[in-house]
Symmetry: C2
Subunit: 377 residues, 2 copies
């Protein structure tokens, strides 16, 4: 059984989980606590290819206190420990070989491959309690779980715009609306995603390279699969292909249906792994297609402090004609908080606000911007 | 003469200055230091109608240590102490009656009425040094000084927009794009400005009240002059006039020239004072006119986390067709920092970036968003 103290410790695991980046894998936090209440180690998952949270915590304690008896210790995990071999070995193995006596976890693993860890641990005599702060733990990875259910990669959107929401001036110039620090941040994201996607029109007009670079300007070892979505043909000498045939580092998804594009992407192997995380960088019509179908799981919106007054808006028509139908998002606390100052730019990190308050007509007095700040009406 | 220690203390005065709000009056900070280096008091100006920074610092020390001998003390002021009777008595009087022996100040007062304080103090035997950290001190109020030179009120702009830069949905609904906390913040600004201005089209379509309210929804004692700019007639029963004749709390400026509108506003008395600070709330055409002529001194940009995909952009055509000609701003450290989180919204506080880096063509490799983050090129 879990008591209030257990919930407090699980809350620390939830906080640890939110330190990680969103993407192919769920956010997970783990806190290892001794019988006397001492916190022995904290771990969180740092994204695909890195240690899982449980293993990170157990590795830490093994390093600082080798051979410590953990049979009286409790491991708090925001998500059910996995039992499958993915890019990392199963957490159940790590827990069993460390000899942890008790495991409390929050949310059940929603994936068929990874779930069942609790059963494995119980069969080996570990005391397992499920569902501690279950709702809070489930909410951490709500959209990730949905992407899993829909059999598609996790979708991150990049908006790089002026203060008045434009992605280029009237003559098409857009280099650079955002600051050097914003572009550096974008490359940090490019370095960890599996695929990067732009519309075929953007590919033709802007001729981007879509590479992931290091701060010194050199190419990073990992390069995302470069994807063009839409039917406009890509020229032979486009920078993102450089004469290479389709399939060699780039693909074209000849569809205007975003879910179809994502599902096809999910079937592609790139650098030895399936595509499970895609970054969409534009243009406004492609972004609109993803927003319209509520397929955007995460947004990084870079706002540069300049006014253009003309030029394309960052997001095109999504079929919304009235305010109550707007697509709503909420600040995302993951990965160090929702707001970043990047030189002169401000970058806001957002996630879908599944339960966001949508004002009804009784909220709307006739004063455009003069109503009292009354949250109850 | 001023030495390095004096500059360190002046820097504290500069920091204090930035705590205040921009508007009708310059930002000013003052630090009173005893002969042994003890900081006796710090003051800053909190906006029109409040004590000046020097008087605030001197009032503090008089309260905590009444009768203290200040003949060996030094007062560091970011701006030359004023010698005129405005809404506050002259700072020179406060300094003389407190018996402060030495005054160091940064920037000369650029206004004919208030300047000359140094001369007054010297004539009374005070040791006065001018120009300490002069450039830093001058920069604090660069735009305020320019508004003074142009004989017009200080202009604050309010942008309240969706993530994609829109101020209304396609059907015109706009209540509420921003959060309750953002609207509350707007009312804090409305409570301290002299006048509030919207376009005649916005006045007709949105029928705003343009009142300043307290957090409980009641009207604040001070109400800004409500101004409509443009030629579209205002209906008798428009909320911002409620049947009252022009001049009774509202005016219409029948011009499309923003500088002319401002200069006329500056000649109007409201609640016993001339209009010296105006807040412009929209719509996009009126805002564009002020941005186009570089008459925007301060911006509060409220960005709500929702996507509309259609509807008017926050700022209309300003005659800029290419990125290098964009109007550039920079984060404003005044009044507690440039970025505020207001419920789900992010509010960015900006000032014109008079010396902002404008990228030239050598900055622009062909990769839309893939160039290295190289600040030197």
């Amino acid at each position: 059984m879990a008591d209030q103290l257990d919930e407090t410790r699980m809350r620390a695991a939830v906080e640890a989980a939110y330190r990680g980046p969103r993407g192919a894998n769920p956010l997970v936090g783990a806190v290892l606590v001794a019988a006397d209440g001492t916190v022995l180690a904290v771990g969180h998952h740092r994204g695909a290819g890195n240690l899982h949270a449980e293993r990170e915590a157990l590795t830490r304690i093994a390093r600082t206190s080798p051979g410590m008896d953990l049979s009286d210790a409790t491991l708090y995990c925001s998500l059910e420990p996995c039992r499958h071999h993915g890019r990392q070995p199963p957490c159940t193995e790590a827990i069993l070989s460390a000899g942890v006596g008790r495991v409390l976890y929050g949310a059940d693993d929603p994936t068929p491959d990874a779930s069942g860890g609790a059963t494995v641990l119980r069969a080996e005599g570990v005391d397992v309690v499920a569902g501690v702060l279950a709702e809070e733990c489930r909410r951490i990875n709500q959209r990730w779980a949905r992407a899993q259910r829909e059999g598609r990669p996790f979708v991150t959107v990049h908006l790089a715009q002026s203060l008045d929401g434009r992605i280029a001036a009237a003559d098409g110039t857009s280099q650079w609306i955002t600051s050097a620090a914003s572009r550096e941040h974008t490359h940090r994201i490019r370095r960890r995603i599996d695929a990067i996607l732009v519309g075929s029109n953007t590919a033709a007009v802007d001729d981007p390279r879509l590479t992931a670079r290091l701060p010194d300007g050199t190419l990073s070892e990992h390069q995302p699969l470069r994807c063009v979505m839409g039917r406009r043909p890509l020229s032979e000498d486009a920078r993102l292909r450089r004469g290479r045939p389709e399939g060699e580092g780039w693909v074209q998804l000849r569809t205007h249906d975003p879910l179809e594009a994502l599902q096809r992407l999910g079937e592609i192997q790139h650098e030895g792994h399936p595509v499970r995380h895609v970054l969409i960088e534009g243009g406004s019509r492609v972004l609109a297609a993803y927003f319209a179908q509520d397929l955007v799981d995460e947004i990084f919106a870079y706002q540069a402090p300049l006014i253009l007054g003309a030029g394309p808006s960052s997001v095109g028509d999504i079929g919304v004609t009235t305010l109550s139908a707007a697509r709503r998002y909420a600040q995302d606390p993951a990965e160090g908080g929702a707001v970043r100052i990047l030189d002169d730019d401000v970058c806001v990190h957002l996630q879908p606000a599944e339960d966001a308050h949508v004002p009804d007509s009784s909220d709307a007095p006739a004063d455009q911007a003069g109503a009292p700040a009354d949250r109850s009406s």
